[in-house]
Amino acid sequence: MTHLSLDKIAKRFGGLQAVSELSVDVSSGEIVGLIGPNGAGKTTVVNLITGMLKASSGEISLDGKDITQETAVNVARLGIARTFQNIRLLKHSTVLENVLIGFHRQGRTSMLANMFGLPSVWREQAEFEEKAHSLLKRFHMQRFAQQPAGSLSYGHQRRVEMMRALASSPGVLLLDEPVAGMNDTEAHDLGILFRELANDGLAVLLIEHNMRFVNAISDRLCVLNAGKMIAKGSPNEVMSNPQVIEAYLGPEKYDA
């Protein structure tokens, strides 16, 4: 059972309050959507959780342990994996190699063992390769295994990034706009997959733009606007909240 909780997190960049007083939490088995218009501070939240940025105030905890000041490497090693909004693959490595590096966190062999190529290292390697192939199968990507990752289409690159994040067998998965640039059918298929992952015990925090997609798969939603949380609750509650409608569509007087 994993539980990630953000308590009154704030981040200032000089005079700009990028995120203020945000409290949100996500547990194993649920998908929590974090939505908001452009510039609302969604990606900043991901960077704060993963330790790429340090919060100005507030506390982030994983299973009750304070991780606010942890380095990015340690946060990753504790089992928080992410995908990037602007896909970041190892473009010159093959798809298989990209997935294999995801297993790094699970490596149990020492650096010295790796240096001298002890049998335990090759056993571990074979085990990771087998697991990588079953991930490729799950994402229908086996036939691209030996392709350089940079040569794939956009949608396929997104899948590689997700496989890489999953390879680390994280407790928490942060997805930063995972269906950006995909059509509704592709997004729907991925939505089913995210639900399966949550059912398998993963805590999923989904940063999204695509409202239809988020509403369809999230258990709870949290809406950010200009760094402030303006609404929280079930998708239906949130969507009928006047502040949310205003943030997305503008004040009512322009509607008439």
């Binding site: 990037f84 966190r105 790796n114 190529g117 036939r143 030996q146 680390s168």
Partner: protein
């Protein structure tokens, strides 16, 4: 035949030493560290070994081991302040390291004999010894490169943020790359000293830094064969081009410019990439298309 062999052996020895230095340079570049400290390690290694053997009567083999150890320590120590730097700044800082080491060799006269250099070093390393060292180092590097360490190096080199987000401890892997590079550099320096009777400080300056870096650029930075082929070409080419007399260095420069512009991945990596792409393309065609999902 015998005279041909006699003419060829010194060149082969030189090529093998250059290969070792290029492998030292390759190790850091593979890990995404733009360090050019190899010549500095070689200087430390060569002088440690030479001083120990000529002044303290230590056995040459202990001298070689000590040189590798000195290189290892230098690499680890250097990695601590350099963990904060990236890219060009690492190159500048490591260039300064090389200059400092050379200056020390030049001015610590009571120990290093200054500009006179150390002479009368016993020649205990011949072509066979160099070959053994090169084979052992190559095996070590191939093992590292095919293990999880090589994968971590590749991730760090291509995108450090991604590597960090997957729990790769960049500082630790960079320190490891520095340590291996230092060990090989120190070892190569000692072998050079025991192969050529004498060493002088200036041979470890730019005159060593540039060809070693060029060898890796020419051959390739990813595959282990890259630095070996690059160093071999760059050592043999000036000899083949001897009829061109003083103009032969223009040929060398011309080839380097050509490779950097048209084969930026280096000769070996370009060829391997071509093979990989054509193989995977065939793979795609031959496999049945799965039902679109």
């Amino acid at each position: 035949m015998i005279s041909l062999l006699h003419a060829f052996l010194p060149l082969a020895e030189l090529a093998m030493i250059q290969c070792l230095l290029a492998l030292s340079q390759y190790t850091v570049l593979r890990a995404g560290v733009f360090s050019v400290a190899t010549a500095g390690y070689a200087c430390l290694g060569a002088y440690s070994a030479a001083v120990l053997v000529t002044q303290y009567g230590v056995s040459p083999y202990m001298g070689i081991a000590a040189a590798a150890l000195v290189g290892l320590i230098a690499g680890i120590v250097l990695s601590i302040p350099l963990a904060l730097l990236r890219g060009t700044f690492q190159a500048i800082a490591t260039t300064a390291f090389g200059e400092v080491v050379c200056a020390m060799a030049l001015y610590a006269e009571p120990i290093t004999q200054g500009a006179m250099g150390i002479n009368g070093i016993p020649k205990v390393v011949g072509p066979l010894g160099l070959l053994v060292a090169l084979v052992l180092v190559t095996i070590l590097i191939v093992t590292i490169s095919r293990s999880g360490i090589g994968r971590a190096f590749d991730a760090i080199r291509q995108d450090e943020t991604v590597a960090v987000s997957l729990g790769v401890n960049v500082r630790k892997y960079h320190a490891f790359a520095f340590a291996i590079s230092g060990t090989i550099g120190g070892l190569a320096g000692a072998l050079l000293a025991f192969n050529t009777y004498s060493i002088v400080p200036e041979q470890f300056g730019y005159i060593m830094v540039v060809p070693v870096l060029a060898a890796v650029v020419l051959g390739g930075r990813v595959s282990v064969a890259g630095p070996i082929i690059g160093a071999t070409i760059l050592t043999i080419l000036p000899e083949l081009a001897r009829p061109l007399a003083a103009q032969r260095f223009f040929l060398q420069g011309g080839i380097l410019i050509f490779v950097m512009v048209y084969l930026p991945d280096g000769i070996v990596d370009t060829v391997l990439n071509r093979i990989k792409v054509s193989r995977s393309a065939r793979h795609l065609v031959l496999q049945p298309q799965p039902r679109s999902s």
